[in-house]
């Protein structure tokens, strides 16, 4: 079987603007993942092709990219899930500076992640054993804890496209994950961080983040729980 990939290429050292290059790849099967095809292109057709990959099993979140116009993980999408008989188009995640080809600069994404203090903050002395949490309380966090920081959600958010200062869905999801953790002792501190004009209030429930999330996390619902907590606190 043959498939045609149209990939956005850009090398800032030699190119003035990004361009598309087509690769006709033979010997593939519809059960191949997009990442498998990329590996074949890089291995035998264009060694300069640049993309991120690590675990290749949808856990590390490295290979987030725009596949046929949608933010997805290259390692989690099979050719048969795409309209592969036509050309498959690959582009870097939108709204982030491109470092090379399909690799974007995620510095801003991680700065926002750090801002919401994505860790448990405790102020009391630790107990002799671990800090306990009931199953019911833990279940409230399970979905938000599935986030793999692939940036597919944040880079699909129109609010972030127009205002780069907006924290974005990934950072807000992390804020939920730790604010509503019963072992955390600084939920107010975290709520203060997200309760700014460029914080949570730039979310207009557009739902792009949900569509983009490869882990099928209902990010908008989690953000709305933070909004409710803020409204209850302020009004």
């Amino acid at each position: 079987m043959q498939v045609t990939f149209r990939i956005q290429k850009y090398n800032p050292e030699t190119d003035t603007t990004p361009y598309y290059k087509e690769f006709v790849v033979d010997g593939v099967d519809e059960t191949w993942r997009v990442l498998d095809v990329l590996e074949k292109i890089k291995g035998s057709m264009d060694g300069t092709l640049t993309y991120r990959r690590s675990c290749a099993h949808g856990v590390c979140g490295s290979d987030g990219m725009r596949i046929n116009g949608r933010n997805r993980l290259a390692c989690s999408i099979l050719l048969k899930d795409l309209n592969y008989r036509n050309v498959v188009t690959l582009e870097p995640l939108p709204s982030m500076p491109v470092i090379k080809d399909l690799v974007v600069d995620l510095s801003d994404f991680y700065k926002k992640y750090e801002l919401v203090k994505p860790y448990l903050i405790t102020k009391t002395n630790p107990p002799e054993a671990e800090r306990l949490q009931s199953n019911e309380d833990a279940e409230k966090l399970f979905e938000s804890a599935k986030c793999i920081l692939c940036a597919c959600c944040s880079t699909s958010c129109p609010s972030l496209w127009t205002n780069e200062n907006y924290l974005g869905p990934a950072a807000l999801l992390k804020a939920y994950r730790f604010t509503f953790d019963t072992r955390d002792e600084a939920p107010e501190e975290r709520l203060d961080i997200v309760d700014t004009q460029d914080g949570i209030w730039r979310c207009h429930t557009i739902f792009n983040c949900i569509e983009a999330c490869p882990k099928e996390i209902n990010i908008t619902w989690h953000i709305s729980q933070l909004k409710k907590a803020l409204v209850n606190r302020e009004i």
Partner: protein, 117 residues
């Protein structure tokens, strides 16, 4: 803390909440207005009919509330749209000033018109 990702430090919760409350109120009032004006047995659009209705202080109060809530919802929503864009401080303050001015002017005009009946 870096100011880059924070913007204004004021809580956005009250305005977010008011925007939704006024939206619900406007929806209900708009349906009531539609029924009253188009399906009620006493409905009428002539000057005399409007004048007669406006003699009722409660009706006047309802209209003033409608004007104030409608302006708040509309202008607050407009401001929210502008806030979605990154812009320099002077431009942001200019737009906010224009929206406040428009709000006060249209509220004054609307209330004066209602009270003139």
């Amino acid at each position: 803390m870096s100011s880059k990702y924070y913007g204004s430090r004021g809580s956005g919760a009250p305005s977010w909440y008011l925007q939704r409350v006024t939206g619900v109120v406007l929806f209900v009032v708009a349906i009531g207005h539609y029924i009253l004006m188009h399906y009620h047995i006493d409905s009428g659009h002539t000057y005399d009919a409007v004048l007669a209705r406006m003699q009722n202080p409660l009706y006047k109060m309802l209209q003033i509330t409608f004007v104030v809530i409608g302006l708040y919802h509309g202008l607050s929503g407009t401001w929210n749209v502008f806030r979605d864009y990154k812009m320099p401080g002077w431009l942001s303050w200019t737009i906010l000033g224009l929206l406040y001015t428009a709000g006060v002017a249209f509220a004054g005009l609307g209330i004066a018109t209602i009270l003139s009946f």
